[in-house]
Symmetry: none
């Protein structure tokens, strides 16, 4: 068990999958989000060339796949199992939509192994399978057509898991050097002089032109180098 | 244009798709989240039996698909185009990860058409394609294998759009009319001509000046009236 990385304790369980291409596509979807533990319960075909083709750069996930004879076997050693399903059910475990379920899943995955269980393509999980799980998770979808492809559902679930993981310690992307207040103000002053020189701005009747242009450039949050370019353009206008 | 349901103003643009199965799977992914407008730029094969098979319950999305000869055509009539890409780029439009980009996308979709642009399977979007967009969106993923299947990426993006829609179903502050793709492109063309005329841009050695200026103005997401002002300034430069 890996306590530093809860994603390492999460397994994706696919029950009675019909199309081996979906198994491969699910493996790829998992790996793109850093989840690599795949359990299959009585797949119709596996291994299979379609699975390998759809796995693309995730052959390692397929190679390490556990093929199980029953859902009980696939849930062995877990501390939490969540059934992912499109359908609400009459008598079901506690039901969550996907995003609100994430804290529960990750909290459990810090303490032990967690299974996310997906049913067969045509009919989803059986009631007997759902009853083995402690949670029911639904992916919010178009009520007129909520039928996500199996691998697409795995992709969305794994994406949410990774997002929830990262939500705590988020690094900001590197940004270029922003221009200083003084640099931007000097640019506005030069811009105003140029607009007067070329006859576009009448100093006697300025209207709100400079305010409008300030607003435009303010939204872009000018970088140092961009101010240099814009000043260069104004100089070229003057000399032309 | 549909102001009541911003999702109806969002189009998914797939550029140079190689595998028709991915087109069908993308159509299905879209429909499960209530997005139905699909544009294809020079697909390798379409229509195709694989597309229809993978579309499952979304044949209506495929039937209404717009096949375009260029990205410009696919972006026609949009007020915002966002490139979805796994790669960071040296000089790119303003970059967001997926979830934080949602408010911007939905706000724009309340005023006009918005495009989410996906590149070809093997290599993604070209730099020239990215430069036509005002935003760059990345899907947070495993840095060792960030390679989502095309339809899986569409699924995640459409899922986030639907989630964001449901989270912010309240009134938004009034925003000015954004400029259309065509208006902004005409401005860039006029700007380039002027920079050449005044001797600031050497067409024999353009370096990356226009890319830099596109990036600057893309960040500000120009309004219609602002484009008019900027065009007016260029005219005044010409006549001065």
């Amino acid at each position: 068990m890996n306590t530093a990385n809860p994603l390492a304790n999460i397994r994706i369980v696919l029950s009675h999958t019909t199309h081996p291409g979906n198994i491969g596509a699910a493996a790829r979807a998992m790996k793109t989000m850093g989840i690599t533990s795949l359990f299959l319960v009585r797949p119709k075909f596996f291994p299979h060339a379609d699975a390998s083709a759809m796995a693309a750069g995730a052959p390692d996930v397929l190679e390490a796949t556990h093929v199980c004879a029953s859902l009980d076997e696939a849930l062995g050693g877990t501390v939490l199992a969540a059934a992912v399903t499109a359908r609400r059910r009459g008598l079901s475990p506690e039901m969550f939509t996907l995003r609100p379920a994430m804290p529960l899943i990750l909290q459990a995955a810090q303490r032990g192994n967690v299974a996310l269980v997906f049913g067969t393509e045509m009919s989803g999980l059986s009631n007997a399978e759902v009853e083995k799980c402690q949670l029911l998770i639904t992916i919010p979808a178009n009520p007129d057509y909520p039928s996500l492809n199996l691998a697409a559902a795995v992709q969305v679930v794994c994406y949410e898991l990774r997002q929830a993981m990262q939500a705590t310690d988020q690094a900001k992307p590197e940004t270029p050097q922003p221009a200083s207040f003084e640099e931007v103000e000097r640019f506005y002053a030069a811009l105003e002089r140029t607009l007067i020189e070329i006859g576009f701005l009448d100093p006697a009747r300025p209207k709100r032109l400079m305010q409008r242009l300030r607003r435009l450039f303010a939204r872009s949050r000018l970088e140092k180098e961009e101010v240099d370019i814009l000043r260069g353009i104004l100089k070229a206008v003057k000399n032309s």
